[in-house]
């Protein structure tokens, strides 16, 4: 009787939970934009875009960055502060390089005659990569915040919250880019 009367309720860290809901709502932005893009590609009168070669480097960089971020998580778990800071920095640098290659990709697009202003088949590529880049910048700030905390030795095996959440978010953004890249690739051949 007592078990049914005061049964414990399901609980997880509310802040971690919030980050997950946040990622779901970001996904909805991309779900809607990608659906719009797919419908647009199905209509006559459009054109295929040669994806800039820089986007391939972007993909490699964002995956590399994700690996570094995961390593920083492991380092924090083992209280290895030196490699924690190193891997955080590496993921930051690869993240910034990702943004640089994205920008160079846009330059290549413009060079190939695909402008932001013009037929939506081209504009969508800028919008999708741009909105993703915007979120990636927010992820960079998150990592920067974790880094500043790790300098103060505030990130360790007993306080994994921030490193865990920034890692989840970072993987999400990397996965999102890979998804966008594959979608753009297959809808443009």
């Amino acid at each position: 009787m007592s078990t049914t009367q005061t049964s414990k309720i399901l609980r997880m860290n509310p802040r971690i939970f919030m980050v997950w809901i946040f990622m779901i709502s970001i996904s909805m932005i991309f779900v809607s934009l990608i659906s719009a893009y797919i419908v647009k590609k199905g209509e006559p009168g459009g054109f295929n875009v040669d994806l800039p070669s820089m986007f391939y480097y972007s993909t490699a960089l964002v995956l590399l960055s994700s690996i570094f971020k995961q390593l920083s998580y492991f380092a924090s778990k083992k209280d290895n502060f030196k490699s924690l800071k190193l891997y955080l920095l590496l993921s930051l640098v690869t993240g910034i390089l990702f943004l640089v290659t994205q920008y160079l990709g846009w330059v290549q697009l413009v060079g190939g005659g695909v402008y932001f202003v013009g037929h939506p088949d081209g504009s969508f590529i800028y919008i999708l990569s741009g909105v993703h880049a915007f979120h990636l910048i927010s992820g960079l700030f998150f990592i920067l915040y974790v880094y500043s905390k790790s300098v103060k030795l505030d990130v360790h095996s007993k306080n994994m919250f921030f490193v865990e959440m920034s890692t989840t978010y970072w993987h999400f953004l990397a996965g999102l880019w890979v998804y966008l890249f594959i979608t753009l690739y297959f809808y443009n051949i």
Binding site: I9, M28, F116, V117, G118
Partner: protein
Amino acid sequence: MGVTKTITSKSKTKVEEHHHEHHEESFITKYIFSEDHKMIAKQFLITGIFWAIVGGALSSLFRIQLGFPDMDLTALSPIIGNWLTPQGKIDPEVYLALITMHGTIMVFFVLTAGLSGTFSNFLIPLQIGARDMASGFLNMLSYWFFFLSSIVMFISIFVEGGPASGGWTIYPPLSALPQAVSGSGMGMTLWLFSMSLFIVSALLGALNYITTVINLRTEGMTFFRMPLTIWAFFVTAILGVLSFPVLLSAALLLIMDRSFGTSFYLSDIYIAGEALSNQGGSAILFQHLFWFLGHPEVYIVILPSLGITSEIIATCSRKPIFGYRAMVYSIFGIGALSFVVWAHHMFISGMNPFLGSVFTILTLIIAVPSAIKAFNYIATLWRGNIIFTPAMLFSIGLVSFFISGGLTGLFLGNSVVDINLHDTYFVVAHFHIVMGSASFFGLFAGVYHWFPKMFGRMMNSTLGYVHFWVTFIGAYLVFFPLHYIGIAGFPRRYYSFTNFETGRIESFIDLNTFVSFAAILTFIAQFIFLFNFFYSMYRGRKASANPWKSNTIEWTTPVEPGHGNWPGKIPTVTRWPYDYSKPGAKDDFIPQHIPLSSTKESNMPEDEHR
């Protein structure tokens, strides 16, 4: 090791309790930048009331135009001077701006932020037994984003060229081209900016509501012991998290089209005899994106009201809610279906007729959970020991509106019938009854019912009864004739119907005049409520701890709960919230925190599993 651990955890809870008991607050942290969910709820409520007055006043203005097309409004020129033509009539473009702002304000600022923002914030922690929201800071941000968005929207009413005027749905290309209409200039830019802020606010709020409901329930508060209010707020928040981001992407693409020259929504447009260079876009894309938010949005508006009335009807009928689980499942059913019916707003957009019939079927299925809810309300009232408090009257009024407005939904949901009725006053009548009036009645019911918990005083019930009867009869007098006007073929959003000279349209002018009379009277009657609200806040009769003899645990807090809600331990919950008039029990209600072991005389076998 184990011993030290328990000691530290004990001292930790002590520190926490200490922290909650002595919470010295300055004026600013208590009333302005408050992180207390109760204060944030009141902020949402007051801002919502402000917006409701603005939205109602705007509707009175355009009702004057519709009901009295020849009236000279020069007397109003000190207030709305530059909205009038030299003849003293409302300017046609201003008329469009008025209906646009009325829709935007009522749907988003009053019935989304004012309703969800108030009652989700206020009731979720109190009814599930939490000290506050999962993140008080994000909650505060949610209000302040809403406040900023309100300011931007308010400023937009007064800018050069007037506020947005493309209708609350802001369909491009009208809204995308500043040269199309003066309201698509600065006013539209501010509208989009304001709505972006609003979306951020709605998302932050929803994030908190979902997290709090799932993670911060008190011991024993299993999902199926939650009051139906919480279920409704919970599903509303889920709808918000899934649909508002889509509006954000729709708005983003529109901003790009407006300000950066892209062509997402634009193609083959001639304006003033000149062809625009935009090619390849699709205005229908905007409709799809907009209504993917827009349809869930109407359930974001109505579900909290349905939750509030479920609670009030059970309490004031002194009966358990009929079919508690069916109510929960139908909330989920309505929520899930709301995502797959959006194209019923677009039947005449040239969509494939087959697709139209798919959306028709999906739309009509919504009648099933809705009818379950209506049936359960009536079955709860049936042979109940009904106590007609003002809140109860408003709840019954909601049930009435929900049924009479829902029935016309069956016609509009049919693609075949909708072709005839689309964009007529029949649609206006439908959604003003089922979503406008019904939600407003839920809002009023909630305010009357939880006013004692909010301010520690009772509202005057005589004024409440007057307010109810005038508003209830008034709302029907306003919106019921609109059905006939709609069937007669009056298109909505038209400035004037006097220029057709067919003889048929003119014959409805009297009915329009009647509607305008009723609308303005109903609007004026709301000031009874306003007076009651603010007067009772300071001068009302002091409330007792549980004035409605209700079961939910918010009534176990002190009459005016401080930050942290319960001064001592949070009550543990052992039963569902609807143990009213239980056979064998001493009183006709058993609050949720009373353990089953102390009510042996009335326990039922099924109590074990609730």
